[in-house]
Amino acid sequence: MKTYLLVFAALCCIGACGRSMSDENILAIDAAEKVYVAPGEKDEFYWFMSGGYSGQVTVYGIPSGRLLKTIPVFSQFPENGYGYEEETKEMLMTSHGHVVWGDAHHPEVSLTRGEQDGRWLFINENNTPRIARIDLRRFETAEIIEIPNAAGNHASPFLTENTEYLMAATRFSVPVPQRDVPIASAKEGTFKGTISMVKVDGDTGEMSLALQVLVPGFNYDISHCGKGPSHDWCFFSTYNTEQAYKMLEIEASQNDKDYTLAFNWVLAEQCVDDGKAKAFPGVYYHNVHPSNHAVVSEKQSGVTMLDPVDCPGMLFFLPTPKSPHGTDVDPSGEYIVSGGKLATVIPVHSFKKFAQAITDPGNIITSIEGIPVLKYASTLAGEVEKPCLGPLHTEFDGNGYAYTSCFISSEVIKWKLGTWEVVDRIPAYYSIGHLSIAGGDSSKPIGKYLLSLNKITKDRYLPVGPELSQSAQLYDISGRKMQLLLDFPTTGEPHYAQGVPASLIADKVEKIFPLDENNHPSATKKEADARVERDGQTVHVYMTSIRSHFKPDTVDVKVGDRVYFHITNLEQDYDIDHGFAIFGAGAPNLLIMPGETKTIQYQASKPGIYPFYCTDFCSALHQEMQQYLRVTP
């Protein structure tokens, strides 16, 4: 009898294994078809990923997961000369001098009426507080503004519904204005946070620091602004409301609830108009990089500072469990979802209830530095119970579902708005941070793909030594169940990402810089104008490059000269760029796009003959694109 049972069990097992294998194969083929972008075909989405500690932005094509480009933003980029060459060197200028590296976290695509418009991509720098604007016509960093009176520009840059403002709140509290105090005095409230409102010009995209609001010295984290009915408000998560300054992992994890800070930015504007704000110290740099021109870097002094005490009704604290990380607003603008890293539920605040609650003083349980704290229940729409471990960020599919990333249990959960029930869950490999749906934080999400951006990679790819790239997974979320489609390595550490339909951007992307629009003061627009000009020990070489030579043919300088090579690429053909490198130069090569002018500095120090050449394979005679610089004693 026992034997029979064993045989029966074995047969069952074989049957089951056989079936599951074939199911898996079918699933794999299905997934492969969904991510296959045939040679010559193009991806459906651009996906802009922050580079984290690389300081840059990478652009991927989705669904294929192919890397399309690295856009240098906050870090020097020897590959094309960004941050070294004369044109972009000042892009990295700050009140602390040239800071040539950054920590880029949260890309946000500009919005019109709550929907992505594909014009600009904004991204924050956490370490030395800055916000950059990338022009999505030329895929170049067009502007960087420093945020003064701030440390840790992490809760940034979150857009209002029509990109009226970018919000930037401080992760680290410090004395504002900066001064030397005992660190332990943090507990006594000597440290402060700020919320900065950076105004965005609707036509040019140019940023300006409109206002700063002084807030209690908590740590402010990922935020989102409202839309529709909640248009006037932005919501910031807070942690370390304990105001610990050491061993935060313990000391900042004591309060059962921290807060979501609701900020009425329209009222803030009103209070400024009513003269409630004060002039406040604050030095910062504003660097603008016009197309095919040198960066214009300006030092600014003084900000407009608003103390919440002078603008009642502008700020409210909504108790939120526990050490929240992300605050996300659903497409309708009604639900405000908080992901508490250490919370056992996902609380969802209702904007309608919140708007009602603030009209009744009975809902105010206490106040912190003049900011009312509301009853938890008074704003709560519901709680997603037993969601997962370590819920962080939530995005939406526009079909009534929300998707939350869970770091500790390493999974994505799908749950229904309104009923708060979890309907599906799927593993992420491993320890997902942000997740991203195209338009998933706008009022018009495209619920087709979901990208998980993970912190731990371990065994996902071939081993490449102790340092691994981060990993990302692509899921199909168009059906009832989520389906894993693709797993691919990413560059730097992508925190957040923004998916944008290619149709919003691709047709408008510039292919060359038209020579007749080149107004660079050092441009040389035809070979006949190529020349060398000397001014004391400074030498300007006005050089042209075209397939396959530079003009002038040779360059003679003297030891001790500071030589500026201003090179204009005379090509007007898509993707025919020329490079420029000099033997022994202390700077990296230049990559010069068709019609573009770029300048590199060279210090002539030793007599000799120094070849220079084109570094970007440009033509059949690229190898012949080599000439000589002579340095005479």
């Binding site: 060359i512 038209p514 075209i546 397939r547 090509e571 007007q572 053909d573 033509s619 059949a620 005679l621 012949e624």
Partner: protein, 197 residues
């Protein structure tokens, strides 16, 4: 001295209109496709000018041609563009004159005129193509013994990595229509005369 029928007289006017329209459209198009230029490069020949298909095509064609030592294609070096508009104007004037003086022999004259201009233009076009393709700078980087780069007069031809195609454009087609229109007039007038006899 046979007068043209009322309908044919109107047709002469239409032919004049078509001839005027040729000023506003390219007559001929040359299109080059290479592995590195999947979208192609091209140029248009107009009555009085030469342009690229795209704003930078002409410059890029000349850049490619410099490898084989072909002379740069520049409007200023081709005097035909100076007098071609007048020849076209002469033909327009002929159509107008025929409209006012609608005689059959005028149409014959127009037809002969068109054929002469057409043949001369083809010969001239071929001659330019021959010269561009054969008179190469001996110092050119790419020199293949026995290789000439004369583009096709009509149709497509492979020249090294480049497929070069030469076809009439709107203006060229209009000229053909003008020829057909003139033939139609002559045939119908002939048939009518026969039936009258």
């Amino acid at each position: 001295m046979q007068r043209l029928s009322r309908r044919n007289r109107m047709l002469v006017l239409a032919i004049g209109g078509m001839l005027v329209a040729i000023y506003c459209v390219p007559i001929w198009s040359i299109h080059l496709v290479a592995p590195q230029y999947p979208e192609g490069l091209g140029m248009y020949l107009w009555a009085g000018k030469i342009t690229g298909h795209g704003p930078y095509d002409l410059q890029n064609i000349n850049l490619l041609n410099h490898y084989i030592g072909m002379a740069p294609i520049v409007e200023a070096s081709i005097p035909e563009f100076l007098f071609m508009p007048y020849i076209l104007g002469y033909m327009v004037a002929g159509a107008v004159a025929t409209f006012w003086y609608p005689r059959r022999f005028m149409v014959y004259l127009g037809m002969i005129n068109l054929l002469l201009v057409g043949l001369a233009s083809f010969y001239d076009f071929w001659r330019w193509e021959y010269n561009y393709g054969h008179n190469l700078n001996p110092e050119a980087p790419i020199s293949i013994p026995g290789m000439a780069y004369q583009p096709p007069l009509l149709g497509c031809k492979q020249l090294l990595n480049i497929t070069s195609c030469s076809w009439p454009h709107v203006g060229g087609i209009l000229l053909c229509v003008v020829g057909l229109g003139l033939s139609f007039i002559l045939v119908t007038e002939y048939v009518q005369r026969k039936s009258n006899v």
